[in-house]
């Protein structure tokens, strides 16, 4: 058995509670320990490539015990979570000095990572709910970490809507348990398929109700358009590394990943479900980007773009073709890299100048060269300019739309990409290129660790674009992940 699998959950959990125990007396512990933990998790996540197995906790076999499952999709998400997490903790060493308590910050951060790793690895529906709540509750606290009026308001809004989502999910899990008598995902899937075969392919009504609850719940968690109200406030007021984590991996892990896993591998995908995904995706893409372009607060602008880019991922998954799934997962990884970089850039700008208002910034390229250059890389990635990663994944998504015969969706994706480019040109012009509006002497230098994590992510923007070199059909790492979801297409 591969003992790395439970350690992804055990290591951050242990560290999260070890830090507050020790660091009341020793001040350097949270930084060092938090970074060491995330570094070891990131290193461990690369060892999971190409492995797939089911881990029985406590050596109890499947119907009795709880299982953890590692496959291509889990390993892709694990790498994304832990690498972005490492970048965020590196950044926090310098950035979180402006907040009060590093001890609580790292503790909550590691609990959030525990929850996300758990969601990705678990094969049990109720454990999925528990890990989701762990990640979500830690993130509610982290969004309100500044404890000012705005932050608390955003956190409260996020908390109310997030709790609503988890309530939906819990009722859905309870319904499935009541109908199938099992919480193991594979067993639930098997008994649902046999029930559907007995009823000549029609799904029983409780299943349909549970499906609706899951779609609402996870769409709320991933902030797809009719459900997106909490996201801009939360991302805007969270500390920068937390915005990066929320946008980069949290919404994807406890939203898009779980939705895809349930729809493709548990419920079995159907044309109606694909249509729902397409509508949610297409709406999110265009509404997100149109709301974004008018914003003047850097982080709020990026937050609306998150909605739009998640729309791309969901749309691509909703095409229901292998190429669409590959494009969607590839864009998911790319988005987690460039969007967390953008939020870290916004944090660096705020750290150095004290404001995120684009109207008051300008000419930062001279004062903050690292932030300026890395944000240029990230902006070009998200806008889809070759050779950066965003271009390739958007290209695959557009080709997949054309191949599947959805020409208007392809045109829609191109249009959204153009508007994205326009709004990021706006950011570059007002913040980094225009004439300076504030005295250079007032601007603080970017600390070493913040610069380091931004440079690492900027390099990753280029490195992930190399995945297309192996051909559109089999990018490295993405293919085994896509295979997991493609298996679900058989029911079509």
């Amino acid at each position: 058995m591969n003992h790395l699998i439970p350690l992804f959950i055990a290591v951050p959990l242990g560290a999260a509670f070890f830090i507050p125990l020790v660091s009341r007396h020793v001040k350097w512990v949270p930084d060092v320990f938090g970074n060491l933990t995330m570094f070891s998790l990131a290193a461990m996540s690369f060892y999971t490539i190409g492995q797939s197995e089911v881990y029985h906790l406590g050596a109890w076999q499947t119907p009795i015990g709880i299982d953890l499952r590692l496959d291509g999709l889990s390993s892709l998400l694990l790498i994304a979570i832990n690498v972005i997490g490492l970048a965020a903790t590196l950044y926090s060493v310098a950035y979180m000095r402006i907040f009060t308590s590093k001890l609580r910050y790292y503790s909550l951060f590691l609990i959030m990572v525990t929850g996300m790793n758990g969601v990705v690895l678990t094969a049990d529906l109720f454990n999925l709910y528990i890990f989701m709540e762990m990640a979500a509750i830690a993130s509610y606290a982290l969004v309100g970490f500044g404890c000012e009026h705005e932050e608390l308001e955003a956190s409260f809004k996020y908390l109310v809507l997030g709790s609503l989502a988890t309530l939906f999910v819990l009722i859905g899990v309870a319904l499935l348990y009541g109908m199938t008598g099992s919480l193991n995902m594979a067993q639930v899937a098997t008994s649902m398929q046999s029930a559907a075969q007995a009823a000549q392919g029609t799904m029983a009504k409780p299943y349909i109700f549970a499906l609706g609850l899951f779609i609402c719940g996870f769409a709320l968690k991933s902030a797809l358009v009719p459900f997106h109200a909490w996201l801009p406030d939360a991302y805007q007021s969270a500390p920068a590394p937390i915005s990066a984590m929320l946008s980069g991996v949290l919404t994807k892990t406890i939203g898009v990943y779980v939705l895809a896993r349930l729809l493709f591998n548990v419920f079995g995908i159907s044309q109606q479900l694909l249509l729902i995904l397409q509508i949610l995706g297409a709406l999110s893409m265009v509404v997100g980007v149109l709301l974004a372009i008018g914003q003047w607060d850097m982080k709020r602008l990026f937050a609306y773009h998150s909605i739009s880019q998640i729309g791309y991922v969901v749309l691509a998954l909703g095409l229901g073709t292998p190429l669409g799934i590959i494009g969607g997962l590839y864009h998911l990884v790319n988005h987690s890299v460039f969007k967390s970089l953008l939020f870290l850039n916004a944090g660096a700008v705020e750290y150095s100048t004290g404001t995120r208002d684009l109207k008051r910034l300008g000419g930062l390229n001279q004062a903050l060269p690292i932030t300026g250059k890395t944000s240029l890389v990230a902006s070009m990635s998200i806008a889809g300019i070759p050779p950066f990663n965003g271009f390739w994944s958007k290209l695959i998504i557009i080709i997949a739309c054309v191949q599947a015969g959805y020409y208007w969706l392809a045109a829609w994706a191109v249009f959204v990409s153009l508007v994205t480019l326009a709004s990021f040109l706006k950011v570059q012009k007002y913040a980094f290129l225009d004439a300076a509006k504030m005295a250079l002497a007032k601007i603080q230098h970017t600390p070493f660790f913040m610069g380091l994590s931004m440079v690492v992510l900027a390099i990753l923007c280029v490195v992930t674009s190399l995945a297309v070199l192996s051909g559109f059909d089999a990018p490295v790492l993405i293919a085994p992940a896509a295979d997991v979801l493609i298996k679900g297409l058989i029911t079509l």
């Binding site: 003992h3 959990l13 509670f17």
Partner: protein
């Protein structure tokens, strides 16, 4: 601040030991009778909350400071965590039950492998953290400045 009347204080002083004892009993016998770490932990927290309610806010530091409770909270989860990890190192599987129980000690206090250890961890965790939640909700007073107040003045007051 000064708490309730002498009668309430005296009754609570008598009761607290029994409530605490009952909580500990529920935790320790969690593997044999209904209950366990969570419910026992809640009862333990209730014993402290009762004193807190009867004696008033000022007693907090005397009976159980919230820093100590915060540390016990971490210790509780670390016990649970250590039980799971020891399973990995001794039994070869994460959460493996590495303590075997002889047949004659079934349904006795010392049985059921690692479950009592996990229960103690959960009991500590739940008891301490519920108490901390209560203390923070009861003792922390948030001052919201009125709109007419100068916000800078308020910040200086806090310092």
């Amino acid at each position: 601040m000064t708490g309730m009347s002498l009668i309430v204080k005296t009754v609570c002083r008598w009761l607290k030991g029994f409530i605490l004892l009952f909580g500990v009993y529920i935790v320790l016998y969690g593997h044999l009778t209904p209950g366990g770490g969570f419910s026992g932990g809640v009862i333990i927290a209730c014993a402290f909350i009762l004193i807190f309610l009867a004696e008033g806010k000022l007693v907090e530091t005397k009976i159980f400071s919230k820093n100590v409770a915060g540390e016990l909270d971490s210790v509780g989860i670390l016990i649970f965590w250590a039980a799971a990890l020891t399973g990995l190192f001794c039994g070869g599987v994460y959460f493996k039950n590495f303590i075997t129980t002889a047949a004659e000690s079934h349904f006795k206090l010392f049985s059921s492998g690692i479950i009592p250890i996990c229960n103690i961890g959960i009991g500590l965790k739940v008891g301490a953290s519920l108490f901390v939640v209560f203390v923070i909700l009861a003792a922390v007073k948030i001052v919201v400045p009125k709109k007419s107040d100068n916000i800078n003045d308020h910040e200086e007051d806090e310092k």
